[in-house]
């Protein structure tokens, strides 16, 4: 009897949950790693964002503690190297070389973990985008933006494929040779490998800047050009409706208005959920890498007071590597957010 009641209740919920004639558009569920940070209510974007930030910030305390621990170890190592250098007489360069190796050893593990986490976040964001964009495309097309939505989808999916593969296969792994060149440069003492190291760093940032600039320019132009085409098509449809028998014209006009309103609502809800899901997946690793970046910057500044230039530069290069990683994850997230907002903007 109990089972029958449960079955009946389930069937009732199922039938009541099916909207009679609303366009059903829902954003894909947030990635597994983002679920813990997803706000309960996503109706108000501002409130949801604050909830999300609060939830993410709460998880960062252990990372800050660990980063400070590594920073203290590095400062201690630099202090010891400086003392050894002062009292070592003729073998100054040996102590400095040893110091470089020890400091690189201390910092490398964290850097490696962050690179792996950054790459994983990029893959996760890209995978979520692949689920979100078809939904947003369908929603925009349902509003009459058929040409615009298809063009936006093509640009977004294409650029995402290029950017995420480029980052996870080329740019992120390029941080390792960058760090190796920095270590080599600091260990040798002469600025032999400095140019090569700078070339790697500049190549990474140039690639990211170029891709993002091309993407935003393409999205802006596509939005305007295709938007005009869709606006003309919508106007033509309205003219055709208004020239009909009054009663039929009225029914058609009411129906299209009702579909437009329900689609607009569904699209905005899906878009807001999508943006929050992207941020929930992105913010925690971004802040983690950000903490490493800031702590390393501060460590380099402190070590600059008593350490040698070679060692301080090496710490600075590790912080620069974290900066590059921040730029990579940030670029992918920015691309996702820009594209979602473009889809949400609607037609004409």
């Amino acid at each position: 009897m109990k089972q029958m009641t449960l079955l009946f209740a389930l069937l009732l919920v199922f039938f009541l949950a099916i909207p009679a004639s609303a366009v059903e558009i829902t954003a894909p569920e947030a990635p597994e790693s983002a679920k813990d940070h997803m706000p309960q209510e996503t109706d108000s974007f501002g409130e949801a964002l604050w909830q999300l930030l609060g939830s993410v910030l709460k998880t960062l305390r252990p990372d800050l503690k660990a980063a400070c621990g590594v920073s203290l170890s590095v400062i201690t190592a630099v202090l010891i190297v400086s003392l050894l250098r002062t009292f070592s007489g003729s073998v100054k360069s040996v102590s400095e070389l040893g110091g470089c190796v020890v400091i690189a050893g201390l910092l490398f593990r964290n850097a490696d973990t962050m690179i792996a986490q950054g790459t994983q976040t990029i893959r996760q964001l890209s995978d979520y985008g692949k689920l979100l964009w078809p939904v947003m495309t369908a929603a925009m097309a349902a509003q009459g933006g058929v040409t615009t939505s298809a063009a936006l989808y093509t640009a977004t999916a294409g650029f995402d494929a290029i950017l995420s593969s480029l980052i996870s296969r080329v740019l992120a792994p390029m941080i390792y040779p960058f760090l190796a060149l920095s270590l080599g440069n600091s260990a040798v003492g002469e600025d032999i490998l400095g140019k090569m190291r700078d070339l790697l760093k500049n190549s990474i940032s140039w690639c990211l800047k170029t891709l993002l600039t091309v993407f935003t320019t393409y999205m802006s132009i596509t939005g305007v050009v295709s938007g005009t085409t869709d606006a003309v098509a919508l106007k033509a449809a309205r003219v055709a409706i208004s020239s009909m028998v009054p009663v039929v014209g009225g029914i058609l006009s009411d129906a299209s208005e009702s579909v437009l309103v329900s689609t607009e609502l569904a699209k905005n809800t899906a878009g807001v959920y999508g943006i929050l899901a992207v941020l929930a997946a992105f913010l925690e690793p971004f802040f983690r890498i950000g903490i490493q970046y800031l702590v390393l910057k501060a460590t380099a500044a402190v070590c600059g007071l008593f350490g040698t230039k070679r060692i301080t530069d090496l710490i600075g290069d590790f912080s620069c590597a974290m900066g590059l990683l921040l730029a990579m994850t940030g670029s992918v997230c920015l691309m996702l957010l820009i594209s979602t907002v473009c889809f949400m903007k609607g037609v004409g």
Binding site: W133, A141, A142, T147, L152, V247, V248
Partner: protein, 157 residues
């Protein structure tokens, strides 16, 4: 990643060879020409991946995403049309029943919409026992106000 390693290695090797050659010929009269030749060789080595660029593959890559985009857009368009059709069908049927009630007729109506262009009502199946006067009045209403010709109004029952 293999190609990147090979590329970096080949560029580094070329740079090393060029460096040695220019260093050895520093004092010879042909040093400027050798330096120029080395620069050109290095530039060719750096730009060599551009030669392997497969334009056809790039075009196919873009076209595959374009096709996916149009597929998703078509899905949205179909969803919106189906949703609008549901509303139009329900409203048109409600309108006919309302008019039938006004002439004291109890009927059921099943409207068929145009599938090619705008989803306007093109035919209707009407079921119920109606007086000749009420039937005539309803037929006129449907033809005049909904644009469904009398030959497309099918009466049963």
């Amino acid at each position: 990643m293999d190609w990147l390693g090979q590329y970096v290695l080949s560029v580094s090797a070329a740079a090393l060879i060029c460096g040695i050659v220019t260093g050895l010929t520093e004092t010879t009269p042909a040093k400027d020409i050798i330096r120029l030749m080395c620069g050109l060789a290095l530039a060719i080595q750096i730009l060599s991946p551009l030669g392997d660029l497969d334009i056809q593959a790039l075009e196919e890559f873009a076209l595959s995403y374009e096709a996916d985009g149009f597929e998703a857009a078509a899905m949205g368009e179909n969803m919106a049309r189906a949703s609008a059709e549901d509303i139009i069908k329900a409203k048109t049927e409600a309108y006919i029943l309302d008019k039938a009630a006004a002439v004291n007729a109890t009927i059921t109506a099943d409207v068929t919409l145009c599938q090619d262009g705008l989803p306007v009502p093109v035919s209707v199946s009407l079921r119920g026992s109606v007086s000749p006067y009420a039937r005539k009045a309803l037929e006129d209403y449907i033809q005049k106000e909904l644009g469904i010709p009398k030959e497309n109004q099918l009466w049963t029952g």
